[in-house]
Structures are given as structure tokens and as C-alpha cells.
Amino acid sequence: MSQIIYNSFDREVHPPYLSPDYQSTVLRAPSKPLMVLKQSLSELTGPVFGDFNLGEFDNDLTKNALKNGQPLGERIVVHGKVMNENGQPIPNTLIEIWQANAAGRYIHKVDQHDAPLDPNFLGAGRCITDSEGNYKFYTIKPGAYPWGNHHNAWRPNHIHFSLFGANITNRLVTQMYFPGDPLLQYDPIFLGVPPKGRDLLISAFDLSLTEPSFALGYRFNFVLRGHNATPFERQ
């Protein structure tokens, strides 16, 4: 057994369980302290998804649910790299995404927001990072939508991301936001993140990633929990 120990969550940037302005946390946050666990085999391993067959358009939400035309809205392309805290790229990481359509409506049956569904847009996709940790999705910029947390509550535009990383200590589910969104300052989910972490959830517009006459480019990198080995020691 190697001596590699993975770092803990960095509580300077991760949100707490209880964050009362986000009302759903009140009855769902653990109330007792977490028990510290010595990492063993199951924490130092995790599911490997490299053998799975991705569908041809799994990473292209503008094409993976076409019925009778193109999805409506502003096409975007989101690029980025998945790394650990030492800056080392993490290849073969499964990334799954989901989002609202351009009108701010999710296809999920529970979403009853009175905005139209788009028959040509599902809003789900996935990809696996390449040998240098890079990923890319084509999609439609998601719309803002109201929710019931408080009077006149609106979620800022966002894309949900789920990542696996090297093992289960690296598991991350998060949301990517867009630069300059005026709703961020009012959103208790975004504001649940300590101030030091907030900028890390906002993507950057990047003209060099923008595809002429096709899609605006955004960059969003991920940093997963690292480990105690230096790059030199890592085999």
C-alpha cells in the first residue's frame, strides 16, 4: 500500500453544510461533527469510466437531442482543464453536466416553471478528460429561472457539473457561473461559498476559444483535492 494521503476539503473555499439563507439546508445539514477517517483502500480508489462508450454527441448538447430542428438560444463552447492542487492534469475523468434551456426551464418533471421546453434540447451531456486533463462541451447558454427559496428569488445562469477524479475523495459536484451576472450577488447557493472561493466558480469569457460565426467561448478549470506526494515522487 502506498503512503499517498489525499488532502481534505479546503474549508476556506468550500461551503458549510448549514447555510440558513439557502433554506433547504436547515433540515438537511448534519448537526454533529464529522468523524475523521483514516483513508484506506476504498478511499484511495474510485470508479474508472474509460471503458464506457460515449455517444457521438454526448458532449454536444446542441446536437444530442434534436427532434425537428436546432435548439433555441445562444450557442456556447465551454473548455477547461481538470487538475489537482499541484497543477497536475487529471486524465480520464468522467464529467457529467446538466442545465436549464435558454428560457430557464429544465426538462426534469419536477420543474414547473412557466417557461417553454425546447423540443430539441435535453440539457444533459458528458465527456471524459483527455490525456492532458482537457474537456470541451458545446451547449446553449442556460437562462435564469425563479425558485421558491424567498420572495423574488432567481438563480443566476449556471451549468451543473459532476466530476469523479482519481478516487472518491476527489468527487466533486458543482455549478459553473458566467462573468458579470447581476444575480450572483443575490443567490444564496453561490453566496454559500466563502468569499475566497466565489471567483473560482465563475467562468471566463475567452475570445480565443470563441468559434467564429458559431459559438462564444468560455473557460472553466477544475481543481480537485490533491495529495501529499510531490510531482517528482509520483509514479
Binding site: S31, S42, V110, L122, I168, V193
Partner: protein, 174 residues
Amino acid sequence: MKQTPSQTVGPYFAYSLTPEQYLYDFKSYADSVMVNPLENPDTITITGKVFDGAGVPIPDAMIEVWQSDHQNQLFGRCGTGTLADNRFVFYTTKPTSVNGQAPYLSVIIFMRGQLIHTYTRIYFEDEVTLNETDEVLNSVPSDRKHTLIATKNGNSYEFNIIMQGEKETVFFDI
């Protein structure tokens, strides 16, 4: 470099993360059938509910289990929004002991209302001897140890997760 902060999985994950379970037109990458019961006579089921601090079953949680021993590496994922009573159920084989530890599955819990996921473990009631000597189980206060141990009924184990309060499940900082 700073870690990317966590955000809630929210209420609308199912059509991406558990699409076939929720009957969406998208292929699932992971589901709750970790071994095929028709090919594995040793298949067990692990079922349970997730309760909030008011004792109400949570209908929009997603449970992931990871089983890693020297024989198997199995991953399962199940949402609590499709089965009766908001249950989850996994089909797997019982994990085996690694280095003398009691056998267990690692569990990762996601839901609306959690800005960051929680980790726990599922141990097995019928592993009396190994449970008694297990370092992790013995590090837990004795009156909370039972929250980590699934109860047995034939080939089915029951494991309920209580998010908050007096009977709260033990969650780990891993």
C-alpha cells in the same frame, strides 16, 4: 492551486446522472445494479431511505456507493425519487474484508439542500466478529455505531440514512 468549491446537486440532476432510472431518453453511465442478479446467486440488495431533520423521507437525494476490495471494484448510483416510499436499492455482492477490516461500502450522499456532499459507510450486521475489532467502527462513539450497520433480512440489508438530529447517521471527513 485552490480547490474548486462544491455546490449543491439541486433538484434536477436525474435526467443527466440517473436518466434511465427516471425514464429520460439518455443512456445511464451508472445505475444501482452493480452485479447481475441472474448471473450471481450471491447477490444481495441494500435498501433504505434518507430522512431529513423532521423525519421525512427525502425524495430528491442521490446515493452513490463504491465497493473496493481485493475481489471487486463496483460502483452504484440510485436516486430516491422513483421507488415506493422514496427508497434507494442497490444490487451487489457482499464486499470482503481488506487487511482484517470489517467489510463495508463507501457511500456518497448528494441532495438539494446540501452545498457539499456527505460520506458515510455501510457495514453489515452479520459480520459480528470483524465489526467488534474494526478500527473505524471502534473510533465511533458506541451509541452511534449502529447508524453505520445495515440490518439483515435474508439476502436483503436495510440501511437508513438520517441526515440530522439525535439519531443522525455518522458522517465522515475523508
